[in-house]
C-alpha cells in the first residue's frame, strides 16, 4: 500500500471511532455528555427557581472536585475502553463540534460521501442562539472549520487551518436539521483547498472556503510535546 493510501486508511478509521461504543466507561461518558447537553439547553431557556439552581450548582461543584481527583486521560492510554491516540478515537470523541463525549458539541454527525467529500447533519439547540431563533454566526464559522478540517484530512496529509472565509447567505434556524457539506477542491504541495456549504432544507445559509497547510511532521510532534510538558508541570 502506498504511503498516501495508508494514511488515508488511517484517516478513515476515525469514522469507526464515531460509532457508539458498546460498553464501559466510554458509554457512560457519552451518556453524561448527552445529559449535560440537555441541561445546558434547558437551563438557558428556563425560569428555574433560585433554590433549585443553587442545589444544582452545589452538586456540580462537588462533582467537579471529584472529577479532578481521577487520573487524567492520556492520549496514549490504551488501558481502558477509551480509544486513545494514535487511534484518534479519543480525539474525535472529544471534539467540541463532533465529539459525543464533549458536552460543548452540538454534536455534528458526519458521514463520508466520497473520497473527497463529507456531509454532516446537525441540529442546534437554544444554547447556540445568535440572532433571534437563529444559530450564532460564530458557531457557523466554527462548524465549517471543523468539517473542512475533517475533509482536508482525507487528502492523506492533514494540515492546520491557514485561512477560513465564511459568507453568510441566510439566517440558519435553530431546532432544525441542517446539512453541512465539505469537500476538497484540490491539493497543491502542502496546501489543501476546500469548500463547504450549510443548508437548511433547500436554503443555502452559508458558504465557506478553507485553505489548510500540512505541517512538517516535527511541528506536530513539538505541539504534542509542549502539551505533555504543560500537563506534567506544576
Amino acid at each position: 500500500m502506498s504511503d498516501r493510501a495508508e494514511r488515508q486508511r488511517e484517516f478513515v478509521d476515525r469514522w469507526e471511532a464515531l460509532k457508539p461504543p458498546t460498553s464501559g466507561a466510554w458509554v457512560q461518558k457519552r451518556r453524561l455528555a448527552t445529559a449535560m447537553r440537555r441541561v445546558i439547553s434547558r437551563m438557558v431557556q428556563s425560569n428555574a427557581p433560585e433554590a433549585e439552581l443553587r442545589r444544582a450548582a452545589e452538586a456540580l461543584e462537588r462533582y467537579s472536585q471529584r472529577l479532578a481527583s481521577h487520573p487524567r486521560l492520556r492520549r496514549g492510554d490504551r488501558d481502558s475502553s477509551v480509544p486513545a491516540e494514535p487511534d484518534v478515537g479519543t480525539f474525535v470523541d472529544q471534539s467540541p463540534f463532533l465529539g459525543m463525549a464533549n458536552p460543548l458539541s452540538p454534536p455534528i454527525s458526519l458521514h463520508e460521501k466520497d473520497e473527497w467529500c463529507v456531509a454532516g447533519r446537525v441540529r442546534y439547540g437554544a444554547a447556540y442562539e445568535g440572532p433571534p431563533g437563529c444559530v450564532h454566526g460564530g458557531f457557523i464559522a466554527a462548524a465549517f472549520d471543523e468539517v473542512l478540517g475533517f475533509v482536508q484530512g482525507m487528502s492523506g496529509a492533514p494540515g492546520f487551518t491557514g485561512t477560513l472565509t465564511v459568507r453568510y447567505r441566510a439566517p440558519a434556524p435553530l431546532h432544525r436539521e441542517l446539512t453541512l457539506i465539505g469537500e476538497i477542491l484540490h491539493v497543491e504541495g502542502r496546501k489543501i483547498f476546500t469548500a463547504g456549504r450549510l443548508l437548511a432544507g433547500e436554503t443555502l445559509c452559508a458558504e465557506a472556503e478553507g485553505l489548510f497547510i500540512t505541517p512538517h511532521p516535527e511541528q506536530y510532534q513539538r505541539m504534542v510535546d509542549a502539551r505533555e510538558r504543560r500537563e506534567q508541570g506544576p
Binding site: Q28, R31, M43, N47, P49, R66, H136, A141, Y168, H175
Partner: protein, 237 residues
C-alpha cells in the same frame, strides 16, 4: 418591538450589560451553575473517571434535565427577573454562547470598549475547546472573532448581520492562556460595515480577521422575533 426599539437592539450597551450588570437571586445561581458546568466539562473531557461514577453522574444529570423542563420557559427578554425590568436584554447576552456568564458553552469572552471604534475581547479557553494539541480549536478562534467584531460593528450605530468573515491563522493559539481579540471598526460603505481584528497570546500574533457586516433593513429583528415566537409556541422544550 417597534422598529425604533429594534434599532437599539444590539447597540454596544447590550454587550456590556452581561458581565457588568450585577445579577440577583436566581440569576446569580444560574451563573454559578453555568460556571460549575464549565468546570465539569473541562475536567470531564480530560478525565479517566470510572464507569460507575460516570453512570451515577449521568443518572443525576438526566433527572435534573427533566426537572428543568418542568419550569416555565424564560422569555427571551426576561432575566434578572427580580429586578422586574422586563425587556432588559442583559439577560439575553447573559445567555450568549460566547460571552454569556449563564451559558456553560461560553468560555466566556469578556468584551471591553477601548476607543470610539475599538474593543478588546479577552478569554481563557480550557481543555474542552482543544483543537490541535494544547491549542484552541480554530473554530473557536473564528467564533470569538465573530462575536468581538460583531460588537465593534455595532459601534457604527447601525446593527446588522455578519456578511463575510475571514480568519487568517498565523500561529497556534494556546489553551489556558489569556487571549486578547483586539478589534476595530474600519469604515462604512452604504449598508456595509467593515471591521478587522487581531488575536494575541501575550505579544504573539495568533490570528487575524476581517469582516463585512450588512446593516439590517428596518424591521428585520422584529420579523425574526415574531418567527421565533411562532416556533416557540409550537415547540415543547
Amino acid at each position: 418591538m417597534s422598529d425604533e426599539a429594534s434599532a437599539t437592539f444590539d447597540r454596544k450597551a447590550h454587550w456590556e450589560l452581561s458581565p457588568e450588570k450585577e445579577a440577583m437571586g436566581a440569576w446569580v445561581q444560574k451563573r454559578r451553575l453555568a460556571s460549575a458546568m464549565r468546570e465539569v466539562i473541562g475536567r470531564l473531557v480530560q478525565s479517566n473517571a470510572p464507569e460507575e461514577e460516570l453512570r451515577t453522574a449521568a443518572d443525576a444529570l438526566e433527572r435534573y434535565a427533566d426537572r428543568l423542563a418542568s419550569h416555565p420557559r424564560l422569555k427571551r427578554y426576561e432575566g434578572f427577573a427580580e429586578s422586574s425590568n422586563a425587556g432588559d436584554v442583559g439577560a439575553f447576552f447573559d445567555q450568549s454562547p460566547l460571552i454569556g456568564l449563564a451559558n456553560p458553552l461560553a468560555p466566556p469572552i469578556r468584551i471591553e470598549t477601548t476607543g470610539r471604534k475599538s474593543a478588546v475581547g479577552t478569554a481563557v479557553f480550557g481543555p474542552a475547546y482543544e483543537g490541535p494539541p494544547g491549542c484552541v480549536h480554530g473554530g473557536f478562534v473564528a467564533a470569538a472573532f465573530d462575536e468581538v467584531l460583531g460588537y465593534v460593528h455595532s459601534l457604527a450605530g447601525t446593527p446588522g448581520f455578519t456578511g463575510t468573515l475571514t480568519i487568517q491563522y498565523r500561529s497556534p493559539t494556546p489553551l489556558h492562556t489569556e487571549l486578547a481579540f483586539r478589534c476595530q471598526l474600519d469604515r462604512l460603505e452604504g449598508r456595509k460595515i467593515f471591521a478587522s481584528g487581531q488575536a494575541f497570546a501575550g505579544e504573539r500574533l495568533c490570528a487575524e480577521a476581517s469582516a463585512v457586516f450588512i446593516a439590517a433593513r428596518p424591521g428585520v429583528f422584529k420579523d425574526l422575533l415574531e418567527a421565533r415566537q411562532e416556533r416557540e409556541t409550537e415547540r415543547t422544550p
